[in-house]
């Protein structure tokens, strides 16, 4: 009780002193201002770029429980360097995705998870499910990729599960999720029990391989081809993994976040408009 007010007070005092320096900005000698500008431009010294300790991602208040952070977001207006006069450019916020959920998951989620676990234990594959995320009323099973065909076969055939309908696979590229950059997301429906789950597997960019599920869900034929086409994810065991939407001789995989957008440099009075991912934008 005695310490906290002091800390607060100290913090407030610091803020106030910061404010004062800002207000006095114009009154400071020009040499000092130029020096600061040069420092910030070259990245040396203590320019505006330097992150205040209380803004670093690990100090930000995260959601309670386990946190699954993927990358970080800097600034607010897409401006960096000295062009940013607002100060918001120094903001750093972690990109936090919903964390793994602990049991009980609630409702029929527990029945499905329980049935799945029971079957996996019987086959000594207990580590096939990496984590379970329940978010916004949808359940996601993160499955180890080498066990995917086995898990899918069980999800389809087990009486308590009966996910006989697969809506398809959708790729997502998380360039900041080191070691798990490429995600393949399957949406499964149990028409018998009228339930819907999501199964997610990951693969690193350096080894973009995921076992194919075409032999279990034949509908995935074109879906896997599309995901290969767009993300470069190779589905091992697919009967004919070729491009499906892009031309056969197309270089690269367009939906990846590192795919060069190119764009058309439109010149106007000497300036040119960069591709959309390099333009200044809210972020």
């Amino acid at each position: 009780m005695t310490d906290k007010p002091d800390e607060k007070h100290a913090g407030r005092a610091e803020d106030e002193s910061d404010d004062k320096t800002d207000k006095n900005e114009a009154a400071r000698p020009a040499e000092e201002r130029n020096l600061e500008k040069a420092k910030s431009e070259t990245g040396t010294g203590s320019g505006v770029e330097q992150r205040a300790p209380e803004q670093s991602p690990e100090n930000l208040p995260g959601p309670t429980g386990e946190v699954h952070a993927v990358g970080e977001r800097r600034g607010m207006f897409g401006v960096t360097g000295t062009g940013d006069t607002s100060g918001y450019g120094g903001l750093v916020a972690a990109k936090v995705f919903p964390a793994p959920t602990q049991k009980p998951y609630g409702g029929w989620f527990d029945e499905v998870a329980g049935a799945l676990e029971a079957r996996l234990e019987a086959t000594e594959l207990t580590s096939a499910i990496e984590s379970v995320v329940v978010h916004r009323g949808e359940i996601t099973f993160h499955v180890r990729r080498e066990d995917l065909p086995f898990v899918a076969q069980m999800l389809r055939d087990d009486e308590a599960l009966r996910f006989e309908f697969c809506s398809g696979v959708s790729g997502v590229h998380y360039p900041d999720d080191t070691g798990r950059e490429l995600h393949a997301v399957y949406h499964l429906t149990s028409m018998t029990h009228n339930r819907r789950i999501r199964v997610e597997v990951t693969a690193p960019d350096s080894d973009p391989h995921v076992p194919s599920l075409v032999s279990i869900y034949p509908t995935l034929d074109w879906h896997e081809r599309e995901t290969y086409d767009m993300f470069g994810l190779i589905f091992d065991g697919h009967p004919a993994l070729t491009r499906v939407l892009m031309p056969d001789d197309w270089p690269g995989h367009p939906q990846r976040k590192d795919y060069p957008l190119g764009g058309i440099p439109v010149e106007y009075k000497g300036g040119s408009i960069p591709p959309p991912d390099q333009r200044r934008s809210y972020n």
Partner: protein, 446 residues
């Protein structure tokens, strides 16, 4: 399982014959050459430009005489990178892109995307009732216009030209209603995160009721023309057969699945937008063929009419109710208004932000330029489009733009059934089978 192993069949012999490019007027030379080689097996490229392939669909058919031994689809001719484009626009702007995918059912594209965004925003329960009713109204009108095109083009492809002309005649009436309500005949971008873009214009309910009355008179014309027509039945019955097991394995939904007798309709099984409050029946047929799919589409239009009537009744009691979520951090700040020179900016709103409230101006500016942030996570809210399960896998990283939006389009998935539906049949039946799937290439290629 290794990559060089074909899980369906052993690799067949590949032989290359002579290649003919058919451009018309050169049949004599072709028949002469084929006669010399005395080979019955021909590989025919049908499309991508062909009036009977529902847009730019390319079919690669292996024929022995008139029998199709193998049928494969070549797609991608209409790929426009809509999903990628959406990653560089705000969440609201996303609707203007996805509405253009399946151009015959724009409201469904918008709705599934918007429902996903709303789930991530956790405002599903806050969307006003009137917005939900208007969504259902527009979607059901859209189901009718889409089924009308399916029936019209399907009829045209087998030579039933009257079916085409009356189909497009009625579709025009639906498009007139769309124009009245949203301002556009296609590509509306009307369903927005949090509600819909605009309230119903004055007189819209009367127009809708007139339309329902007219359709009740005209829908029987289709039944009278086709249902018992021996030529029509002869072309459709038993063609494009696909049973329930085949449908589930291939992920087929919509009228094709329901033609096997299985009443799977997401409006009933997993209701969204308040579909549980409407009185309608799921239409099924038990023949699992093209004729059954035609009858299902016809019957579904009657059910849609029923829902439209119920929507009109409910909307009559909701006059003046909000059509956008109350949260001013999400709701679009302004609505359009009718001025002396037509529809345009609302002068009241401009007066408010320019003359009365600085905060309102800031708010408007921030929402329009930056947009709102959507909490990180992923959502998938599928809906029953005229062609089957349409779903948007929406991923957010907590930013002002979609991190990824992937559309599971029923046309894309259902088109995979082309091979099983047409192999072993006659070449003329390929067209009928594909017409019964009703693929829209804008949705297939996105």
């Amino acid at each position: 399982m290794s990559t060089d192993q074909d899980i369906f069949a052993a690799p067949g012999e590949t032989s290359q014959g002579r290649v003919f490019t058919v451009t018309g007027q050169d049949w004599d030379s072709i028949t002469d050459s084929i006669g010399e080689s005395a080979e019955e097996r021909v590989v025919v490229n049908m499309g991508p430009q062909h009036p009977s392939t529902h847009g730019v669909l390319r079919l690669i058919l292996e024929l022995e005489g008139e029998t199709v031994t193998e049928a494969r689809c070549g797609i991608g001719y209409l790929h426009t990178g809509i999903e990628k484009n959406m990653e560089y626009r705000s969440w609201v702007q996303g609707t203007t892109f996805c509405t253009r995918m399946d151009y015959l059912s724009p409201f469904y594209n918008e709705a599934t995307y918007v429902l996903g965004v709303e789930r991530l925003l956790d405002i599903e329960d806050d969307v006003p009732e009137k917005a939900q009713v208007m969504r259902v109204l527009l979607m059901e009108l859209n189901r009718m216009s889409s089924h009308l095109v399916a029936i019209a083009t399907g009829g045209m492809e087998i030579g039933a030209l009257t079916v085409m002309t009356i189909g497009f005649r009625e579709r025009e009436l639906v498009l007139d209603l769309f124009e009245l309500i949203t301002g556009l005949r296609m590509n509306h971008a009307f369903i927005r995160p949090g509600g819909v873009a605009q309230d119903l214009p004055p007189g819209a309910l009367d127009e809708i009721r007139d339309f329902v009355t007219l359709m009740k008179k005209r829908l029987p014309e289709y039944a009278a023309l086709c249902n018992a027509n021996p030529i029509f039945k002869g072309r459709l019955e038993g063609v494009g057969h696909l049973d329930l097991a085949g449908c589930i394995a291939l992920g087929i939904t919509g009228p094709v699945l329901r033609s096997t007798g299985y009443a799977w309709d997401l409006r009933k099984t997993q209701p969204y937008c308040g579909y549980e409050d409407y009185d309608f029946e799921v239409q099924t047929w038990d023949t699992a063929d093209s004729y059954g799919r035609f009858r299902i589409r016809l019957n579904e239009m009657w059910e849609s009419l029923k829902i439209v009537e119920q929507c009109a009744d409910r909307l009559a009691g909701l006059e003046g109710a909000p059509v956008m979520v109350g949260d001013k951090k999400i709701a679009w700040p302004s609505q359009l208004a009718i001025g002396s020179d037509g529809m345009g900016n609302s002068l009241d709103h401009i007066r408010h932000i320019m003359g009365e409230s600085m905060e309102a101006l800031i708010h408007h500016f921030k929402l329009v330029t930056e947009g709102f942030r959507v909490p990180a996570g992923q959502a998938y809210v599928p809906i029953e489009s005229p062609r089957g399960e349409l779903g948007a896998h929406v991923v957010s990283d907590g930013g002002t733009r979609p991190f990824r939006a992937h559309f599971r389009d029923p046309s894309f998935t259902n088109l995979q059934a082309t091979s099983v539906m047409s192999e072993g049949g006659m070449v003329a039946d390929v067209i009928v089978a594909i017409a019964s799937i009703d693929p829209v290439m804008g949705g297939v290629d996105r």
